[in-house]
């Protein structure tokens, strides 16, 4: 787990960004900017004064005799990047699945901006402004890049066959407006030349990027990223890290990140949560977590412990 040379280079390259965000996050103007729901003008939620945007309160999930998540509480603050790390089988993806409604927790409560979403179904959670990507690439491979992004707009479209037949012109105008959102994302993610390509044919890193774009097309308040850099080479990782920082800073979207690459996690996160065997064993800033004895013992291993100051 000791950072090797390639990671060092990533750390160095991202260093400037990190320094910028450290100051940015603490400035009150910045907090105010992210707190306003710029991400979704169509469906404003009652604004909460509290800085906690997503609250996971003493949540547990068991599968048969196996406890995947046990009594975990996490407060995700507005506008930051929060990473969840932990060894394989620690319950990270299970936790994400509970937030996005695929699993219902056995105990505990999950609230988004004060609204209970514990028992909401996945499409409802998505409509409320929580988008996600998946560990294994989960694009609709037969559809083009643009169609994949347009599907992300689905929740923002007014549905109904009748409606779109009766109000043909309206539906057309709506289509154009949604198309513009997708085109903006295509520019943002530099996918201009690939618009009409079926995603099944794209290179791995590009597919991950399209998946990020599709989640962004929902115009979420919070985006859950499940190993967005898994299986990527160093260049691709750097690109993705930069996109994640941009998503967070320029678009004001709260990021919840599961990632195994410690270099990236420590570099871009505001806060890190460590899970081990379904339990939360540490929480804090990247530096704090790296120093935590419990983390060193359970996760990073004895070797790393010797190196840390």
């Amino acid at each position: 787990m000791a950072p090797g040379c390639p990671q060092r280079s990533l750390l160095r390259r991202l260093h400037v960004t990190r320094a910028r965000r450290m100051t940015a996050v603490t400035s009150p103007a910045r907090v105010a900017a992210t707190a306003s729901p710029v991400s979704d003008p169509a469906q404003p939620l009652p604004h909460q004064e509290t800085k906690v945007q997503l609250s996971i309160d003493r949540v547990s999930k068991r599968f048969g005799g196996v406890t995947a998540v046990e009594d975990v509480s996490i407060d995700v603050p507005h506008g930051g990047i929060l990473s969840i790390i932990g060894p394989n089988g620690a319950g990270k993806t299970s936790l994400l699945n509970m937030i996005s409604g695929f699993y219902t927790p056995d105990n505990g409560r999950i609230t988004l901006e004060g609204r209970d979403i514990t028992r909401r179904r996945p499409h409802q959670v998505a409509a409320l402004g929580i988008a996600r990507t998946f560990q294994n690439i989960a694009l609709f491979s037969g559809l083009t890049v643009l169609d994949n992004l347009m599907l992300g707009r689905h929740v923002r479209m007014r549905s109904g066959v009748l409606r779109s037949v009766i109000y043909w012109g309206l539906a057309q105008r709506e289509e154009i407006a949604h198309r513009e959102v997708c085109e903006e994302l295509i520019d943002f993610l530099k996918l201009q030349d690939l618009r009409k390509q079926p995603t099944g044919a794209l290179a791995y890193g590009l597919r991950k990027r399209v998946e990020l774009g599709r989640a962004l097309a929902l115009e979420p308040r919070i985006i859950l990223l499940d190993e967005p850099m898994g299986g990527m080479n160093q260049d691709e990782k750097e690109d993705m890290a930069r996109y994640i920082l941009d998503v967070n800073q320029e678009r004001g979207i709260t990021v919840v990140l599961i990632e195994h690459d410690m270099g990236v996690v420590m570099d871009i996160s505001d806060r890190v949560i460590v899970l081990d065997r379904g339990r939360k064993i540490a929480e804090g800033s990247p530096a704090e977590v790296q120093r935590s004895p419990a983390v060193i013992a359970a996760y990073l291993g004895a070797k790393k412990g010797k190196q840390s100051p």
Binding site: H123, A126, F134, A138, L143, V161
Partner: protein
């Protein structure tokens, strides 16, 4: 002599194509459901039969226009499909595919038992007001009902193709077919699309029931038309709309040619036999069909 041979072959092919398109229409119902919901509907033929009975029943009422009978058939089949999805199939979500297959086979048997139980076993007639004037294309002669069948089939196959390729709901339905979990995460209400797929299957079954019913007469044998769906979809690919069309055309032509050339020697029956031989050959060499998506199951 040579000319006669050619025109005989030509009329067999034309007749086969027109029958084939009508198979395609019914197969479309099967493909829609399989594509969107992964359910294999073995009761597709019984759907067609049920629609035929509804249409014939309404048309038999004194002074009832045929249009009312068609609308009734469509309405009943849509409601029936909705109810079926809701009551029988939704609880089976996540169970092995065999459970769904058995459920639809059972449903098919029940549906076949219903008409003798309620309206009796006799064949009912269902005639569309289209006259008896046959339609002539060169040496081929088509009964008017087949022409209507061709037009309706083409219309609906075109409409469904447009729906899937261009409409927003169609694209969403393809997404549901591709990966249900991810579709949910995109905010798509998957169950609503399941219901929509079944409703569409209900519509094509209703149209199939009216057309086939007025061609063959309405009785429980109408369900057998549904059996032809299997060679059609195996040839074309279970999840391909284009496949349903091409598969239907192939099956139609093959059975027409088999009947025309082989029946005189063996005394009949090749029409019902040839499509299945073709199906088995297809399964041996190209199990996903001509246009089917090759599915690689990852464990």
């Amino acid at each position: 002599m040579m000319i006669d041979e050619l025109s005989f072959a030509f009329s067999l092919v034309v007749s086969g194509l027109s029958i084939g398109l009508m198979y395609s229409l019914i197969a479309l119902g099967f493909v829609l459901v399989y594509k969107a919901t992964d359910a294999i509907n073995f009761a597709q033929g019984e759907f067609v039969m049920l629609a035929g009975f509804v249409a014939a029943g309404v048309a038999a009422v004194e002074g009832m226009p045929i249009l009312a009978a068609i609308i009734a058939a469509v309405a009943v089949m849509v409601l029936f499909s909705f109810a079926l999805e809701r009551v029988v199939l939704r609880p089976l979500l996540g169970r092995p595919i065999v459970a769904v297959i058995m459920a639809t086979i059972g449903l098919g048997a029940i549906l076949r038992g219903l008409p003798p139980l309620t309206v009796g076993g006799q064949t009912q007639s269902l005639s569309l007001p289209i006259g008896d004037e046959p339609f002539v294309i060169g040496p081929a002669v088509l009964p008017p009902i087949q022409v209507v069948g061709v037009i309706v089939s083409l219309l609906f196959l075109g409409a469904f193709t447009w729906f899937f390729l261009k409409s927003r709901m169609g694209v969403a339905m393809r997404a549901v077919a591709d990966n249900q979990q991810v579709a949910m995460a995109m905010g798509i209400n998957v169950q609503r699309y399941f219901a929509l797929a079944w409703a569409m299957a209900g519509i094509v079954s209703a149209l199939g029931g009216v057309i086939w019913g007025s061609m063959l007469g309405v009785d429980t044998h109408l369900a057998l038309v549904g059996l032809k769906v299997f060679p059609v979809v195996i040839l074309g690919g279970l999840d391909s709309i284009v496949g349903a069309v091409i598969g239907g055309l192939i099956v139609g032509v093959v059975e027409s040619i088999a009947a025309g050339y082989l029946d005189p020697f063996v005394g009949g029956g090749t029409k019902d036999f040839a499509p299945y031989v073709l199906m088995i050959v297809m399964l041996m060499f190209k199990p996903y069909g001509l246009f089917g998506q090759r599915r690689i199951e990852r464990v």
